[in-house]
Point group: D3
Chain length 132, copies 6
């Protein structure tokens, strides 16, 4: 299995609902350093998992819809806690949709799965990996 | 598959038996920076893999029984070399026992596996991943 | 010159005023991974720059007044942009006040300076270093 | 599943053929920080995945054939782009051959797979994992 | 003293002349992860060391003249070894020239010094710090 | 000012005397990841702060006298706590002695200072910087 990873980051505000979240129920925020990892069994005709330039641009575009926002005000997350895990899944799904739309090129249709990891500090991260 | 990781560390002394260990047969020690990664197929009702606060506390508690000790004197490791791999397995098993005891909350019973990685330097780490 | 560093982190929401800040004028947030570096010319009687336990506890206490807050609502920052640089200075000043109050022990009065570095992502950080 | 990882690095020059590579079609180069991760289901008789000293020496030996070279001149890569993914596969295959040759000791024959990850910058890496 | 750091990277080919360089006399290459650290005694009117957006753009522009090149062919380095130290100085001087040209804004004229650090692997880096 | 840094690590056992050290009074141990940073105002005739190969070899040699040892048994530290700060100073002094002995080459006599930083975990480090 081959993998290729690109990294970017975004900064948001949000709050959580539910006693389990303790002081994180208050409006606060986070920097998420994001690793998008693309996987496939065999390389494409250029010897690549995916074009690294297109992968970076697509990740930046997907994060652009979240960057510098208060996620409590985003309709996409209405009624849901934007935990690290939920955000990882959201970014995963948007990357997979972009792959299906051809944003990563024709070769990228051979991708098997995408993992998205959000590093929220030097001691904690969450991720979601699923099929393309 | 969703994952959530928390990090902590502990410092111990130990020695190894067997010629293969060369100078590490002498009494020496290590800092282990520990990543405990919890995995599950679906999130719990709060949109979480596991409560990050409980996960951190439990990891700290498990490491507390090893911290600042000479592992050569610990009955739990009598007759065994406390290699990085063996320690990763030990911490894994103690975290899984804590999950079964409810220390990470009811939702944590839905966890599928736990991986424990011990970084022993900037160039080496060992890990064990197994089912909950 | 001797130095000792301890690391912790906090997560906040805030917004900036001024066109130079572009999209960061919107309410967003950040994780700040904080390095507090204590410096002195000679070690104390225990062979230490400062007791690492007290240093960690004091840093955690200082960050506790910022953690999980919307800094736009904090009186301490009224009328000011809470840039990374401003926050580094604020944390520095509070650590120095704690040193003067004896929170780091009598030996810590021999400290020469404190540097506070706030890592806001994998590509950017800001810091302030000043005398004790 | 147990894993053990050792890290080393090498520096090379190369160029790529194909419009998709843009400016990387020019002769340039890279530092690759290499993680070689060895995996197996059960530890060997010494409580190890593999002897860490032999693993490090073998990785260094394999990288020695690439180090400080212009890969465009290496017969092993004639007619192929030496992308990060291709290099990860090459190093994997050479490590597996070394395992079969006994370079990592008799116990290493119980290894299940090897993953090789090449970090080409602070924001990108590629890897290949395959059976021993 | 306040500092602000931005990070980027570039990849080049080069060779060194002189027996002291051993195998690095051969054509090879490197990834340099670059930290540009801007320092000043007092913040500007916006509470900044320098606008982080302009700092990042300027660093990217300066690195753009080196990126994906064989430095042995660059007239700017004719007759000189492009060691990590020499490259750090070159990038420093070009950043300082950009500051003097106003590329980082009027406020940046209050900068006191710039440090440029080039990380060439996980175990080695070189840097140059000088006045603006 | 130019700087060049090389990194290595060593693992030791030790204990501390004094109530301030709490549980670290017990025999335990540590991995120290060591950064040796060499500084000078002007480069040598080869465009270097110091030959990186000689610097790495010398650091490895200096650490070789500490590696895999119980520092409580080392005469060099009799009657002293081997805190991170004390060890940083010891390694600094031994590197400076090696420079004076010519181990880093004739050009290294132009070095101005050496800083030695010992990373004892992902959250703490100590260092000593002094003149050559």
């Amino acid at each position: 299995m081959y993998s290729l990873n690109v990294r970017d980051h975004f900064m948001i505000a949000h709050s959580f609902e539910g006693e389990i979240f303790g002081p994180a129920q208050r409006l606060h925020g986070a920097t998420y350093v994001v690793d998008a990892t693309f996987r496939r069994a065999e390389l494409d005709a250029d010897g690549l998992v995916v074009d690294i330039g297109l992968a970076s641009q697509t990740l930046t575009a997907v994060l652009g819809d979240l960057r510098y926002r208060n996620l409590d005000d985003e309709p996409a997350f209405a009624g849901r806690n934007t935990t690290t895990e939920v955000l990882a899944r959201t970014i995963h799904d948007r990357l997979v949709a972009a792959i299906h739309d051809g944003a990563l090129g024709e070769g990228a249709r051979g991708l098997g799965s995408v993992a998205v990891t959000l590093h929220e500090s030097h001691v904690a991260w969450g991720s979601y990996e699923g099929a393309v």
